[in-house]
Symmetry: C2
Subunit: 199 residues, 2 copies
Amino acid sequence: MNEIGISTEEKIIFAAEKVFTEKGYAASRTRNIAEKAGINAALLNYYFRSKEKLFQKVMNRKALLLCENLLPIFTDENTSLKRKVEQIVDVYIDLLSENPNLPLFVIGEIQKNDFGFFNSFPLKEILGNSNIINQLKEIDSKINPLHFLMNLLSMCVFPFIAKPILTNFSLMNDTEFQTFVNQRKQLIPKWFEVNMVSK
Amino acid sequence: MNEIGISTEEKIIFAAEKVFTEKGYAASRTRNIAEKAGINAALLNYYFRSKEKLFQKVMNRKALLLCENLLPIFTDENTSLKRKVEQIVDVYIDLLSENPNLPLFVIGEIQKNDFGFFNSFPLKEILGNSNIINQLKEIDSKINPLHFLMNLLSMCVFPFIAKPILTNFSLMNDTEFQTFVNQRKQLIPKWFEVNMVSK
DNA sequence: GTCTATAGGCCGATAGAC
DNA sequence: GTCTATCGGCCTATAGAC
């Protein structure tokens, strides 16, 4: 630990999170991460053995961030569907506001799946037994509940995925984007409820 | 032209489209593209001068594919909003079914924006003057019309972006995914209409 | 733990024969 | 046009001094 309480290992992880999430694994350079962390390139290998191991550490932290914030809401047996929707929208939009390129990073690396990193996580089981899926089935048993879940998540996540388009083509600046997604915290539960009630 | 009517140049472009859209620019290897095209690595440079120039060719074709299919629908002065929604959903889902990783590829590269490739396209002007934006404003002038456009596009595109999650975690196989998105062709216009009518 | 110096491999690009 | 052979550079990883 140094005087401001951040160990060298943490400095490297923070720098790696920034570089990896912005550029993706393939375009990231360990030299660049080391530079951002204020250390020598050799020290990075001393702590993490390889670029790939450092990447897995970062991806673990980011996947955990998503899971531990969202899955408890999905599986909660004691909240109504309406309340779950409000919670998901609120928690997710706040989370993504602080980590805007998290979705693009995680999904992009899942698609490439170079390291078989995601092969063991039991998402299917967790989701299949979750309370929210049963609640969605009750609304309309003829429609695959994943349609509704997809709609809800897409309305939350997609603006952050499309952010490069919005800002790069000057449709919004960063401040306007933040206002835009904050408005959606109120709007999405309304839209979603109408969808469900009217089937 | 060889006996099946595909020139060497086209063979390289097709191989490049496959490799670039699957792996992204940074992780793609010119040797791998040449191999897939059935030619020597040197020949790739003979036709396209560099990896970067080949990439720009591919990106141009992909961006064009999106624009020439969607923008005419957006700007059409002679169709109702309801009809536009039906057309967008239908055209877009068909287009993405044939090019499933197009959205992730295009948005991912826009975010990295290594070559300033997207700086000159006048999307803001085209969209700002488009008929669909005015039609959306008429429905509810108090809500930014981009909210509705975002919802519509997100419901079409997001499943394709999330496809790596669905298939990698065995929530669906490829056939089930195709059934899933085809169902959405009928469902999305219904959901969207309800949204708009009820504000 | 942290540094400098460098090994070793991969990749894009080119020279030059045919 | 198409190939083989190879250059030169960049990047990760390691050896070794302090």
